[in-house]
Amino acid sequence: MSIPTNDQASVRTGIQASETPLGRDDLARLVARDIQPGSFVNLGIGQPTLVSNYLEPEQNITLHTENGMLGMGPEAAGDQIDGDLINAGKIPVTELPGASYFHHADSFAIMRGGHLDICVLGAFQVSATGDLANWHTGAPDAIPAVGGAMDLATGAKDVFVMMTLLTRDGVSKLVEACSYPITGIGCVTRVYTDKAVFLTGPDGVQVRETFGCTLEELQAMVPVPLRAADPS
């Protein structure tokens, strides 16, 4: 497979396409390349964490972790492991030069005050207008847990979602309106999936790229009206 070689996400013209669906790592590589140089970014637990493997040093990206750090480095290994230095997923990580530590209220002030350029989150569902559902299945016997998801969804300047487009049962996770309990209203700006990249917002859904399908094939999978992205 191949990924379009645009340097900047903001200089794309209409729809792009590749011949096959994207794997998780290819998708992570694509998200990484779409992050503007110099950005401050929070990567959610799970699939979004993969993005950190593909950030290039020359992008000069600073990673934030909600438990009180800017300048987080890669996962720690061997002698680097330090129980006092972990990420939001409680995995030991490392510290890059220029890092800083702060307490939880200051850390969430960074998120809630609109200072993060991008957060990348997983999702159960995203609606056509950018509502996010990623914290609760709504199952009656589920023990609810929210963590920092609502703060990130509401606070970051841009919220990118990474997910497979379809559930295991083949149902679209991009929906007209979320049936799962929502995390935030109208907060998602882009949805990266194995089959396409979608731009969401108040005006509905645009398709920036497709992977292994045409726009028409994609439309057949997704219950919301799609259109090719405006040249930008």
Partner: protein
């Protein structure tokens, strides 16, 4: 009034049944395990506990929950792969849960320490977790009214204290310590090291001694009890 105390047992001895107890830590980092063990030993029950999680594995807060000492958890993320004691109590209807988005949890704790009577935040607006809460549009955004979380006692862990009770922390173990110290009527701190007054640079102090009541040194080196593998 600041006291230096010899044992964790004496440090927690005054905690009464029915207290609201804040416990620092995020994951294992900054968890005051020895103070939590002492709280388990001291027998106080009917507690409301404020922590980011609801205990993990068979240690610390998880044991306090298992033993039925916690009537209510205020936390953001109770469900973890090894939170089986909380899960069991919750499914049995034997523990109350107030689930709070993590940033609201931190900000509500901070509000208590800072004398703020309540605040509006966009976090949670339009979600299940705002049901029944006052909302209004401010700065063009839907916002939810949240109130401070006060506590009778905070149990936290720091790296070093000086003779005035000033504290510094270590890396991401800082997390909830500074805001819980300010939000509780009585703050009990376990530290790895106590240095004489003047032994900490005034520019680097994170928690001023005014927020600290009891200090007990716990011998383990910083990060040692939390070291993974």
């Amino acid at each position: 009034m600041l006291n230096f105390i010899d044992t964790v047992g004496e440090a927690v001895a005054g905690i009464k049944d029915g207290s609201t107890v804040m416990i620092g830590g995020f994951g294992n980092a900054g968890q005051p395990f020895e103070l939590i063990d002492a709280l388990l030993d001291c027998g106080a029950t009917d507690l409301t506990v404020v922590n980011n999680n609801a205990g993990q594995g068979d240690q610390g807060l998880a044991l306090l929950i298992k033993e039925g000492r916690v009537k209510k958890m205020i936390c953001s993320f109770p469900r973890q792969s090894d939170s089986w004691h909380f899960d069991a109590k919750y499914r049995a209807g034997e523990i109350e849960l107030e689930l709070v988005p993590q940033g609201n949890l931190a900000e509500r704790i901070r509000a208590a320490g800072a004398g703020i009577g309540g605040f509006f935040t966009p976090t949670g607006y339009g979600t299940m977790l705002a049901e029944g809460k006052e909302t209004r549009i401010l700065d063009g955004r839907g916002q939810v009214f949240e109130t401070p979380i006060h506590a009778d006692v905070a149990l936290i862990k720091a790296l070093t204290a000086d003779g005035r009770g000033n504290l510094v922390y270590r890396k991401t173990a800082r997390n909830f310590g500074p805001i819980m110290a300010a939000a509780a009527k009585h703050t009990i701190v376990q530290v790895s090291e106590i240095v004489p007054t003047g032994g900490l640079d005034p520019e680097i102090i994170v928690t001023p001694g005014i927020y600290v009541n009891s200090i007990v040194r716990v011998a383990a080196a910083a990060g040692e009890t939390e070291r993974v593998a």
